[in-house]
């Protein structure tokens, strides 16, 4: 891992802040995500984890600071530009196309990746490569049997899997997952962890996660976000041993 | 100078009238998320009810009865019709009220005919308030503005000083929480919808005696009111007051100005060239005063899509 230090970070945040009115929700976050690592952001409720994701993915622009994706500035760009630059995200609250089939949900993203975003002059059924790739993603997230069903009719954990699948379709190398296992049972969580592990192979992952067992089994490094700033960034083991972190966060929940 | 004073007065009174109608619309939207397309029809209904009642019982009785009747109709719509389509989303609520607007307009035509009716202010209000530069200013215009101002003072006091008003404001922010605290929110919604309708009805009853009362008055004012809420920001009372006055002033000034694009080009010595183009170039502002609000809306959309006082979405 020491060699990666000299590498260009996949995602680089420097002095990122965000204020809503008088309240500064994010107070100067500096963070480097190395290419290929799986990185978790943990922190108590209201620490600003989702806000941080929203700033990175372009939901709204930061008040100040700089965000680089593979060395390219993406600060304050619109979501679709950031996505095209190679960053895809999932949502904490399932955010899918409820009235489209599961297959269609995934195909929308695959089409974007193939640059036929506004294709009007060819029937979609003849686009063989698009359809094959969609079927492949469908297979990978374990939803092959449900491809023709409406996304709104899926079970909760299936919808979460679809949510992850959709972030893969656009071919982004940096994946942001916002609480992918929230609300899942123990078995479902275990399956989701395996799914995330397999689909993020060779990609960079940044995820918000509450479940420490997920963090331990999945992530290379962890950053602790408390009151809008990063308290510490380290390996899961050392983070859990960090006294400051224990006091600020783990202590109050673990005890 | 004379022109400026008269236009300002006209603009402000017209703006206050617009606010009388748009306030209810934006209050209802802010609380319930329902855009009531039939809101301007309530305005028209107010004028016609006042006309029908006043022809028998006199102007003042009409002025009192009209908002009550219209308010009751509004409550009935909120109670019996809107819940039926609520599950299908706000677009269906909009469509339902759109259909109601159509029905109200056609019913008016059915009973009163497809032409203006003779709804007049009483003779004892028909005098001039004062005269500026030799021309008399009708008192009734001031009366319209005065009714609007009094109404808002009352509404403001109700919202800020009474228990019900506080519940209403709480329900606007967090309906579920207000309900959990034991307030009868469906009742509050019905009351607010009725009040909004009654305000529009009062507006119609007052204004109908001055402006023409005909079956088109609903949609004609309606489109302007919709422009007001887009410009002001839906759900913002302050925004709709600002936008109402702005559009009132713009419209009343435009009526008296013979500016044209050719004139503008004339300032740069291109007047003759522009005049030779004709069309849009030589169109005088006064003849397109009806277009002003829509043009203003497009400009606001470009500069501040959320409206002057609206929250960006």
């Amino acid at each position: 891992m020491s060699a990666t230090r000299t590498e260009l970070p996949a995602l680089h945040l420097a002095g990122v802040t965000k204020s809503f009115g008088p309240i500064e929700v994010i107070q100067g976050v500096d963070l480097d995500i190395r290419p290929g690592e799986r990185h978790a952001v943990i922190g108590p409720n209201g620490a600003g984890k989702s806000t941080l994701f929203n700033l990175i993915s372009g939901m709204f622009p930061p008040s100040s600071g700089e965000i680089l994706l593979d060395g390219q500035g993406i600060t304050g760009l619109s979501p679709h530009r950031i996505n095209r630059a190679g960053l895809a995200r999932s949502f904490q609250i399932t955010n899918i196309f409820h009235r489209l089939s599961v297959f269609e949900n995934l195909r929308i993203g695959v089409l974007a990746r193939h640059g036929v975003r506004y294709g009007l002059f060819r029937p979609i059924s003849r686009m063989r490569r698009v359809n094959e790739e969609t079927a492949e993603v469908l297979e990978r997230v374990g939803l092959r049997a449900r491809g023709e069903d409406l996304a709104g009719d899926l079970t909760y954990s299936e919808q979460r899997a679809l949510e992850i699948g959709m972030t893969l379709t656009t071919g982004a190398d940096v994946i942001l997952l916002d609480e992918p296992t929230a609300g899942m049972s123990r078995e479902e969580t275990a399956e989701a962890v395996e799914l995330i592990r397999s689909v993020t192979q060779g990609k960079t992952l940044l995820m918000v996660e509450h479940d420490m067992s997920v963090v331990f089994s999945l992530c290379d490094r962890v950053s602790v976000l408390v009151y809008g700033s990063i308290l510490a960034t380290d390996t899961p083991e050392r983070i859990s041993a960090n006294r400051e972190v224990q006091e600020a966060y783990l202590g109050e929940e673990a005890s | 100078m004379e022109f400026a004073i008269i236009s300002t007065l006209n603009g402000v009174t017209y703006g206050l009238l617009l606010f009388m109608v748009s306030a209810g619309l934006t209050l209802i939207f802010g609380m319930m998320g329902v855009l009531n397309f039939a809101h301007a029809s309530f305005y028209m209904l107010g004028a016609y009810v006042a006309y029908a009642v006043s022809s028998i019982f006199g102007f003042w009785i009409g002025l009192i009865v009209a908002p009550i009747v219209v308010g009751l109709i509004g409550m009935a719509v909120e109670r019996f019709l809107l819940p039926r389509v609520h599950a299908h989303g706000h677009a269906h609520e909009l469509l339902l009220t759109f259909g109601l607007a159509l029905i109200i307009e056609e019913l008016i035509k059915l009973f009163f005919g497809d032409f203006p009716v003779n709804y007049q202010m009483p003779a004892d209000l028909r005098f001039s308030a004062f005269s500026v530069f030799g021309s008399n200013y009708p008192f009734y215009r001031l009366f319209i503005g005065g009714v609007a101002v009094v109404m808002f003072a009352v509404l403001w006091l109700l919202l800020t000083r009474t228990r019900t008003g506080i519940v209403v404001r709480a329900a606007e922010r967090l309906p579920a929480m207000a309900e959990a605290l034991g307030h009868n929110i469906p009742m509050v919604f019905m009351f607010v919808f009725g009040t909004g309708a009654a305000l529009a009805g009062l507006g119609g009853a007052v204004a109908g005696a001055f402006y023409p009362t005909n079956p088109n008055m609903g949609i004609e004012l309606g489109v302007i009111v919709f422009v007001v809420v887009v410009v002001g920001g839906l759900g913002s009372l302050k925004g709709s007051l600002l936008a109402s006055l702005l559009i009132g002033l713009f419209s009343s000034f435009a009526v008296g100005l013979d500016w044209s694009l050719a004139g503008l080009f004339g300032l740069f010595g291109l007047g003759d060239w522009a005049r030779s183009l004709g069309g849009l170039m030589t169109l005088e502002l006064s003849s397109v005063s009806a277009t002003i609000p829509f043009a203003l809306m497009l400009i606001v959309l470009l500069v501040r899509p959320a409206g002057l006082m609206g929250e960006p979405n």
Binding site: S78, P79, H80, N83, R84, F97, H98, R99, L100, E104, I108, A112, R113, V116, R117, Y118, G119, L120, F121, R122, I124, S125, V130, T170 | G33, L35, R84, V85, A87, G89, H90, A91, H92, E93, L94, L95, L96, F98, G99, L100, L102, I103, E106, K109, L110, F111, G113, V223, F226, V227, V230, L234, G279, V288, T291, F294, M297, L298, L301, P305
Partner: protein, 429 residues
């Protein structure tokens, strides 16, 4: 996928549309031209609401623009410009597309109810400006021209106009249907469902919405151009709110969730207005009433109800459903009878003709004629009849609805043909 059955039905309709009109009278041919134009307009409108989830209250603007563009081209042809008459609607398409891009840019900056209001205001902008623009819109009197012969076709008779219209409507209808099978067509549906997610998948949602809007405006422009070719004239009243309102009513009564639903609504309303407009002044009132009833009791429209039955045809137990459905029809007819009677009575009693007779009458209110019978306005029977009709019809209808709902509940389709749970077509309001 289009089933064999659907294809056969479409082929039969097509055959009728081609073969029958020559044997009809001129009035009927004219009515059919209007049906076709209204159908195309409704299909173009439904591209926005049915597929993109954008509710426009101002589609008259693009319809009207198309008409004026075609007329200006017709005038140019009259003056010697060499342009084939059958291709005139291209002018409408181009004008609709251009204006649609600009208007769509503004309108799609907001979503939900704002979008509806902005479209309404844009149409009103045209409506208020057009009478003052002599050159483009011909002032208050409008623009007129004449169809010029082309390649031996005179375009003098209505049947020629009919076939020209039919050809264009079929081509455009097919194009709009094909649209739904393209990548962009799928993106349109995704926009309706969840615009935010579309943006995070790398699409510029605003640009996409502008394109959908412009395409809808383009086909509306073709419809307007066809009207201009048929009427050879147009004025600013084409921009009026009632034109915009008509297409909304037709589309939703026909059913916006089914591709051909709007055509059903457009055809039904246009034919009805042709048939009854001589009989009643209250046609628009009935339209509004029908629309509100559809919104309240069958939000997916005629098309949605038909589609529901087609989907569940295996569970359709004809022997058990025929009774309740016939009862529902009877109840509906009784109510309709009562309402029509009341409406027409009001129209007569509050009409100007009756006011004159009332003044001249010696004592009391004079009798009036309706449906070929003379009625006494102060007789109890006169008012009891409609009330009884409505009451009896209401009771029957409620009963029938209950047993129909009961049937669909038993076969496990709680989302019966009326009040289906099919999601609202609207955008995120």
């Amino acid at each position: 996928m289009a089933s064999m059955r659907t294809i056969l039905i479409l082929a039969a309709i097509l055959l009728l549309l081609v073969a029958v009109p020559p044997f009809l009278g001129i009035a009927w041919q004219n009515a059919l031209v209007n049906v076709l134009i209204a159908s195309l307009f409704a299909l173009a409108f439904n591209l926005l609401i049915g597929q993109a989830g954008l509710l426009s209250f101002g589609h008259a603007a693009y319809f009207g623009i198309g008409a004026f563009a075609a007329l200006h081209l017709m005038i140019a042809v009259e003056d010697g410009f060499d342009f084939p008459t059958p291709l005139l609607p291209v002018a409408g398409a181009a004008a609709g597309l251009l204006v649609g891009i600009v208007a769509g840019y503004f309108a799609t900056m907001r979503s939900g109810v704002y979008f509806a209001l902005v479209t309404l205001a844009i149409a009103e902008l045209f409506h208020s400006l057009a009478p003052h623009l002599q050159g483009v819109f011909g002032g208050e009197s409008g623009v007129s021209s004449m169809r010029m012969p082309w390649q031996g076709i005179v375009f003098g008779s209505i049947i020629e106009v009919y076939y020209l219209t039919l050809g264009w409507v079929l081509i455009c209808g097919l194009a709009l249907w094909t649209y739904t099978r393209t990548p962009f067509g799928r993106l349109t549906l995704a926009l309706r469902d969840n615009e935010q997610r579309v943006r995070f998948l790398g699409y510029d949602a605003h640009a996409a919405k502008v394109i959908v809007f412009a395409i809808s405006a383009m086909f509306s422009g073709v419809a307007g151009a066809l009207l201009a070719i048929s009427n050879e004239t147009a004025n600013y009243s084409l921009f009026a709110t009632d034109v915009s309102a008509q297409v909304v009513l037709q589309t939703f009564v026909g059913g916006s969730t089914v591709f051909f639903g709007p055509v059903v609504g457009a055809a039904a309303f246009t034919l009805f207005s042709f048939l009854v407009s001589d009989l009643t002044r209250s046609w628009v009132f009935y339209q509004g009433l029908i629309f509100v009833l559809v919104m309240l009791f069958a939000p997916t429209g005629i098309g949605g109800v038909v589609q529901f039955h087609a989907r569940h045809r295996r569970q359709l137990d004809r022997s058990r459903l025929a009774g309740p459905y016939a009862l529902a029809l009877l109840g509906g007819l009784l109510i309709a009878g009562g309402v029509v009677y009341l409406t027409e009575t009001v129209a007569v009693l509050f009409g100007q003709g009756y006011a004159v007779r009332m003044r001249d009458a010696v004592d009391g209110l004079p009798n009036y004629d309706l449906f070929g019978i003379s009625w006494n306005p102060v007789s109890i029977l006169t008012w009891l009849l409609p009330l009884v009709l409505v009451a009896v019809g209401g009771v029957i209808l409620v009963r029938a609805r209950r047993s129909i709902a009961g049937f669909w509940d038993r076969v496990g389709r709680s989302d019966g043909p009326v009040e289906t749970k099919a999601a609202a077509p609207g955008g995120p309001a």
